[in-house]
């Protein structure tokens, strides 16, 4: 029972308190790509969840081997990237063989759907905090759902901004970043943090 409680607490933590976009700033470029393709948000969120869960499960015993190593800052990412490469190859051949229509549609973006900062970050944060197996998986799932929610919130806001009279030099990337910063500040306050003084 304690294990299950731990799983859900870590999921909740990753979802709200340490939201992947607003608190950790992971996968922002990938998020800006997805906000222009709202129909694909669910698919890529599920893809992210699958990659993080599979890589987290496979990589957990391997990462434990290098926890005390002085090169852990480099070895842990290398292990996880190697594991993600195995997951990528598996997904690539599975989708190509059994879901050819899907492969035609999103085969070209499969690489970035697997290898992105959101996925690797969701694996490296629990590794850095030395979370146990269930917490690692729960954290990864929470991060993935948090990513999907963040994409929807940011996408909605940015679509509204298109109707606003934004000064010319702020159009595009600048206003998107400032909006993301303000949302991130709002989230920071919402979960009960106080600004450091």
């Amino acid at each position: 029972m304690t294990f299950i409680a731990q799983f859900f607490i870590m999921m909740f933590t990753a979802l709200f308190i340490e939201n992947i976009i607003f608190t950790r700033a992971l996968g922002t470029s990938w998020m800006f790509y997805l906000v222009k393709r709202p129909k694909e948000i669910v698919r890529y969120t599920l893809m992210l969840m699958a990659v993080v869960t599979l890589s987290g499960a496979i990589g957990y015993p391997l990462r434990s081997l290098v926890h005390e190593n002085e090169f852990r800052h480099v070895l842990v990412p290398m292990i996880y990237i190697a594991v993600m490469a195995v997951v990528y190859a598996g997904v690539y051949f599975f989708v190509k063989k059994f879901l050819p229509d899907e492969f035609e549609h999103f085969g070209s973006t499969l690489g970035v759907a697997v290898f992105n900062c959101a996925a690797l970050g969701s694996l490296l944060v629990p590794a850095g905090e030395r979370l146990d197996f269930l917490s690692t998986i729960g954290y990864g799932i929470g991060m993935s759902i948090g990513f999907g929610i963040a994409v929807v919130i940011v996408g909605y806001g940015l679509s509204r901004l298109e109707y606003c009279r934004v000064p010319k030099i702020f159009k595009g990337v600048p206003i998107a970043l400032i909006y993301l910063g303000l949302l991130s500040l709002a989230f920071y306050g919402l979960v009960g943090h106080q600004l450091p003084t």
């Binding site: 607003f22 990237i81 190859a89 900062c117 690797l120 030099i169 990337v173 970043l177």
Partner: protein, 216 residues
């Protein structure tokens, strides 16, 4: 001037834009998270810049040299393995200016290995480049990133800690500036600054290259 020298000069001129008017962070909106959350001091900015340089240049050159000869499924894997291996030399070099730099900057240098340039740009664009073009593209993409990282890191360390490169200059500080939301806001204003300069100089708006436009 020989044809070869002319081509080389054109490639350098084309790549030079990545320093400012085609800056990968401020104009293309890439690698934002690593800077917003990880680049809180000058040393962190330097560590991220060194790591980005060691990842981007070899991966783009490798993509131009052998990318087309690899099967489609193996390309991204090859680029990712190479970029993760390039974390090792950057770790050694960054350790030279601060033994605890990777503790301070956290997971963000490692995340550069799976950022947009090694994952997407190398496969969709750089595979069609000549070796020299890929090399200069990599150099100037890394320099453009470094310029942004150093300015952001300097500003955040000065206002957040009252110090520069670890040397205390002032007692008063504003630590909140080191939080990710301030990173986003500062980057937004820096991006607006680039747009402002472009407007004043009447330079055309930069469009991110698409697969078909990269054909030589």
């Amino acid at each position: 001037m020989s044809e070869k020298a002319k081509n080389l000069s054109a490639e350098i001129k084309d790549s030079l834009g990545y320093l400012f008017f085609k800056n990968p962070v401020l104009v293309a909106g890439l690698v934002i998270g690593q800077l917003a959350a990880g680049c809180t001091t000058m040393q962190n900015g330097a560590a991220l810049s060194v790591t980005y340089f060691f990842i981007v240049v070899p991966v783009l050159v490798f993509a131009a040299a052998v990318g087309k000869n690899l099967p489609a499924w193996a390309r991204v894997i090859a680029y990712m393995i190479l970029s993760s291996l390039m974390l090792l030399p950057s770790y050694y070099i960054c350790g030279g200016f601060s033994a605890t730099i990777f503790d301070s900057v956290g997971i963000y240098p490692a995340l550069l290995a799976v950022s947009t340039v090694p994952v997407v740009y190398s496969e969709k664009v750089a595979e069609r480049f000549s070796l020299s073009k890929a090399f200069f593209n990599g150099i100037f993409l890394a320099l453009g990133f470094a310029l942004t990282a150093m300015i952001l890191g300097t500003a955040r360390e000065f206002f957040g800690n009252g110090s520069l490169w670890g040397y205390k200059l002032a007692e008063a500080s504003f630590p909140a500036v080191k939080l990710p939301f301030w990173g986003f806001i500062l980057l937004g204003f820096m991006a607006a600054g680039v747009n402002g300069v472009r407007e004043i100089m009447k330079k055309p708006e930069y469009e991110i290259p698409k697969e078909e436009e990269a054909e030589e």
